[in-house]
């Protein structure tokens, strides 16, 4: 935490000091502190989902506005950040809903070739893995979870997905939203969602194998 944000985090004198007293409703001074304390996190989150700095900034601003207006729903300051992130997620979903009505979210061209290139094109073992291009053994994947660089690689790989495919992947895999809900939100068919998820997972697996699991430990 930076010095500025620590100073900004000092409670205002008129705040009730007793822990037993009910949490105060957010006031006009709160957004200033919110922006300093949580602005960066919320912005990075929004940017990772929307991939557009202007739209991400708008989403953050809308989040603070909605937070101020809905302040009475907020209980306790300790969960302030996750409360704000929850509002931001809704704002991002609103954005997807709008985009889903205006343009098509379906992207089925992505990785079409890549998918078929890995399988034997003809003969008795048609559509079997080409052995050299098939999945290789991963060396202790569990240990990777503790590595900062592994997560950086995972994130970089997911950022390489085409925008709409990444949207679908994030909603399904990162947020854990059910398929049917995503289809309704983005206005796409379930079958198209499955194809997009299949290609996204295939591409990510491949990317992580190339950039992480396939590398000797010392050079990661």
């Amino acid at each position: 935490m930076s010095v500025e944000s620590q100073i900004a985090a000092v409670p205002m004198p008129e705040l009730p000091a007793s822990p037993a007293s009910p949490a105060p409703a957010p006031r006009l001074s709160d957004p200033e502190r919110w922006v300093d304390e949580h602005g960066d996190y919320l912005f990075k989150y929004a940017l990772s989902r929307l991939r557009d700095p202007v739209k991400a900034e708008d989403a953050v601003q809308e989040t603070f506005l909605a937070a101020l207006k809905g302040g009475k729903d907020f209980e306790g300051r300790s969960a302030e950040k996750s409360w704000l992130v929850g509002i931001l997620k809704n704002k991002i979903c609103d954005h997807y809903r709008k985009a889903g009505r205006e343009t098509s979210f379906t992207d089925l061209e992505f990785y079409k070739d890549e998918e078929s290139d890995r399988f034997i094109p003809d003969g008795p073992f048609k559509d079997g893995w080409i052995h050299e291009l098939g999945p290789q053994e991963w060396n202790s994947p569990g240990a990777s979870l503790d590595s900062e660089v592994f997560w950086q690689t995972y994130r970089d790989c997911s950022n390489k997905l085409p925008k709409n495919v990444a949207t679908v992947f994030n909603l399904r895999e990162v947020d854990g939203i059910e398929s049917k809900e995503i289809c309704a939100m983005l206005n796409i068919s379930e079958n198209n969602l499955w194809v997009m998820l299949h290609r996204a997972r295939m591409a990510l697996r491949r990317c992580l194998e190339t950039n992480w699991f396939g590398k000797p430990e010392g050079t990661r």
Binding site: V35, F43, L65, L68, R155, E173, V174, R201
Partner: protein, 104 residues
């Protein structure tokens, strides 16, 4: 020894002919994360895994990535992208203030 090799080849060919292709297996592996597959299909997949290390790995690795993907969502503090610029922070503060003042 020769007989064993022959039986093994026969078995592999039989399984290959009675289970989905690897391309199909990769689709099914992903589909299984969305909705439960029929018992019949699950048995076929298990059988395919017996003869195919690639599909077995694919299945395990996809499930691994699926299981841990939620953690991607909380990695933003360490993300190598810049946060809000000081200008942007001022803009947001001003924007919030402007939108609230008429109500007070």
């Amino acid at each position: 020894m020769k007989l064993f090799a022959l039986l093994k080849t026969r078995f592999v060919v039989w399984v290959w002919n009675h289970t989905p292709t690897c391309a199909e297996m990769s689709r099914l592996t992903s589909r299984a994360l969305e909705q439960p597959l029929s018992l019949r299909m699950r048995v076929k997949m298990r059988l395919h895994f017996v003869i195919c290390a690639w599909c077995r790995r694919y299945f395990e690795q996809l499930n691994f990535l699926h299981e841990h993907a939620p953690r991607l969502g909380v990695q933003f503090e360490t993300a190598a992208v810049r946060g809000l610029s000081p200008d942007a922070k001022q803009r947001i503060k001003a924007g919030v203030r402007k939108n609230l003042t008429p109500a007070l």
